[in-house]
């Protein structure tokens, strides 16, 4: 285990857990003062949705890690397969769409 003891690792994990939970708790606290039919709520929902859409676009356009070994064309092709599987071939079966997209990216990457 080298010089790093398990106690140090545990402290690291606990500190990271606290730093993460902070934001969750803050969200609950803010929500307590928010009217779910109000304008601020609509804006926050927009922020959250835009954030996730931004992440997805980033993963598809500028991937890091394993996905970076694929070309943009392979990722777009696999995305199209997932969309067809979800919207056209099945009645919006999420698992089928996800599996379809993942099988497609592996096949497209193998075939090139």
């Amino acid at each position: 285990m080298g010089n790093v003891g398990v106690t140090d690792l545990l402290v690291l994990v606990l500190a990271c857990a606290a730093g993460t939970y902070l934001w969750r708790a803050l969200g609950v606290a803010v929500a307590g003062r928010l009217d779910p039919d109000g304008e601020i709520f609509s804006w926050m929902a927009c922020v959250a949705l835009a954030m996730i859409a931004g992440l997805v676009a980033r993963m598809l356009v500028e991937p890091v890690g394993v996905l970076a070994s694929t070309s943009l064309l392979e990722r777009l092709g696999a995305t199209a397969c997932g969309l067809v599987m979800y919207f056209v071939l099945t009645r919006r079966n999420l698992l089928a769409g996800v599996v379809g997209g993942c099988v497609a990216i592996v096949l497209l990457h193998l075939l090139r």
Partner: protein
């Protein structure tokens, strides 16, 4: 807010329905990520129990990966915690929106705070689509049923990853990693019906990659703030004109 269109009759029924809805795509996507985490952590000399404990205690995959990678290069504790916490800032808008939807006098504050810990982005997109369709007192139990199962599955997946370390080919990893973008893309395009929501998605898809070029650490929240605000402003402007 929408009128309830689905009724599970009792909080207990809603809890079970939430757990049922988690089985399938949401758990598969989350677990795939945590298998990768467990495999990576075993290579960094983390004991099995601590890998599982870290998934249960932190339950934020991007942050956990940052923790491992910074620890591997012996970064100081304070810096690691700062970077991890920064990456968790995405939880602020997500928990705010979901908590405001789930609030009900029947459930005390501590239950709201406890439920926030088991929130993951994967569960958020599914819950935000379903929760407004439920009667108010069934919303929190539905989410807890959904998220609790995801949370336990991720702990188990971390352990599986620990044992699978080094045995997964690049192609298998590729398929597992691709689950994330495709899952979010499908559920967001399929379940976001309101014009405002669709506008927010489109705006975020543009701001996301741009923000990543300028500030990778802050890019998620920054893209959300800019894209979400632009979408909201456009919507108000159109409403006032029409």
């Amino acid at each position: 807010m929408d009128k309830p269109t689905i009724n599970y009759h009792t909080p207990r029924g809603a809890l079970a329905a939430g757990a049922r809805d988690a089985l399938g795509a949401p758990i598969a996507v989350l677990a795939a990520g945590y298998v990768g985490y467990g495999a990576l952590a075993s290579g960094f000399d983390f004991p099995l129990w601590l890998i599982v404990a870290s998934s249960l205690l932190i339950f934020a995959l991007p942050g956990q990966l940052i923790m491992l990678e910074m620890h591997a290069v012996s970064a100081p504790l304070v810096l690691i915690v700062l970077a991890v916490s920064l990456s968790a800032s995405r939880f602020l808008p997500m928990t705010t929106v979901l908590s405001a939807m789930m609030r009900h006098h029947r459930y005390p504050n501590w239950q709201m705070y406890a439920s926030a810990h088991i929130l993951a982005m994967t569960g958020w997109v599914a819950a935000v689509a379903r929760v407004p369709q439920l009667p108010a007192e069934q919303r929190l139990p539905y989410f807890v049923g959904f998220a609790l199962l995801c949370w336990i599955a991720c702990a188990a997946a971390s352990a599986v990853g620990y044992f699978l370390a080094g045995q997964m080919s690049e192609l298998v990893k590729l398929g597992l990693v691709f689950m994330n973008p495709i899952y979010f893309l499908l559920i967001l395009t399929g379940e976001t019906k309101a014009a405002l929501g669709r506008l927010a998605l489109a705006a975020g898809a543009v701001t996301g990659p741009v923000a990543h070029v300028f500030a990778p650490q802050w890019s998620l929240l920054a893209a959300g703030l800019v894209g979400g605000s632009v979408a909201y402003a456009l919507h108000r402007w159109r409403r006032q004109r029409g």
